[in-house]
């Protein structure tokens, strides 16, 4: 299933609605990388609230997506990681590295705005 990507001002919001296959994830990566440039987005939010599993491939793909977006001048935040997912991720030693995380969409937007303000200073 293709992940819907919504444009909201200078932000892009990708809201994952169901479990994704590896192909879906790579499609999401390509779509976001493409649209971030096209819409001149400043921030990208990937909402994973609906996911109850996060495997190493998903982690790696999201991490590389964040690096790609940074190269294209945008910041990415992952929001909505569930407690169970967070716990199993640290147990499996999976991490998002430098990627910022926030509780939910609202928090994610606040986070990206703060970061942008700090960079301008």
């Amino acid at each position: 299933m293709r992940v819907p990507i919504l444009k909201q001002g200078e932000y892009l919001i990708a809201s994952i609605q169901s479990a994704l296959t590896d192909e879906d994830l790579m499609q999401l990566r390509d779509d976001l990388a493409d649209q971030a440039g096209r819409f001149r987005s400043r921030g990208i939010i990937v909402d994973v609230t609906a996911l109850d599993v996060m495997d190493s491939f998903a982690c790696r793909t999201l991490r590389s997506l964040a690096s790609i977006l940074r190269l294209r001048g945008a910041q990415m935040a992952i929001v909505g990681i569930q407690p169970e997912v967070a716990f199993s991720m640290v147990q499996l030693g999976l991490a998002f590295g430098e990627v910022r995380t926030a509780l939910d969409l609202e928090e994610g937007l606040v986070l990206l705005r703060q970061e942008a303000a700090e960079r301008q200073r």
Partner: protein, 305 residues
Amino acid sequence: MVLKRSPHAEKAAQANGEVSKRDSTTALLRELVAHLRENRTQLREEWVRRITESKLLTAMTRDEIFAEATSVYDKYVAVLESGSVESLQAYARDLSERIIPRGVETNEVVGIVLLLRDVLARSLFKKYQSDFGLLNRVLDAYEPAANRIANTVAVSFVQERERIIRQQQEAIRELSTPVLQVRERLLILPIIGVIDPQRARQVTEQLLRGIRANRAKVVVIDITGVPSVDSTVANHLVQTVDASRLMGATVIVTGLSSEIAQTLVTIGVDLSKMKTVGDLQGGIEEAERLLGYKVMMEQGPDESR
């Protein structure tokens, strides 16, 4: 031609024998029960005397022992009569529930049941001592039933005890990890007592759920009350911090004693990613700063401050 009994007939004869044997056992048990009922007062008193003599059930008064002994005696006889231990089981569980909080030990409970068994067996010896064969058969009937009763009571007692222990463990676990909100979006998690891996896991789960429920941005984990930390617990702490960060919350750990700090440095746990502050007060102040609160003291009576 030799007449041979067919296997079928043989089986029937055998079954017949068994039936008659069972009949005689039942009859003997009936006789036994009648005897025990007849001498109820005397045997019961003998039993209570023996209990006191052996210094069992010291936590209970004499009257209480007598009252319990009476009902146990009656149940005992009832089980011998009916052969069903169910009512005794329920009673034993109920009794255990009453006496466990008073500090009655397993050996005491097993001891008194064995004493009763002994008292009753002695009275049987006395009654049937003239006829050795009959005594033998009476004991054949009595022993298995008595053993089953002793077994039932002991097992019920231990089961009840284990149930209580489980219940208390559960209660302690529930109590031991409160996740408290002190300000909007600020949680504190005071940990008191030894952390084992199971508890560490539970603490983490509760904290993560608390973060979601309270939409927390900062969490202060205070470990002043933790006596010691080993590498397993330290790694759990690091995992908790990482997991909280994944949910968008910053964790501040406070209250590391000098011993714990030294241990952590010595065993070489990577704590570089962890924010630590000396005490809980400092931790809360740091958290307030992160959240943008400014707490100021109102000019009080002490003007010099």
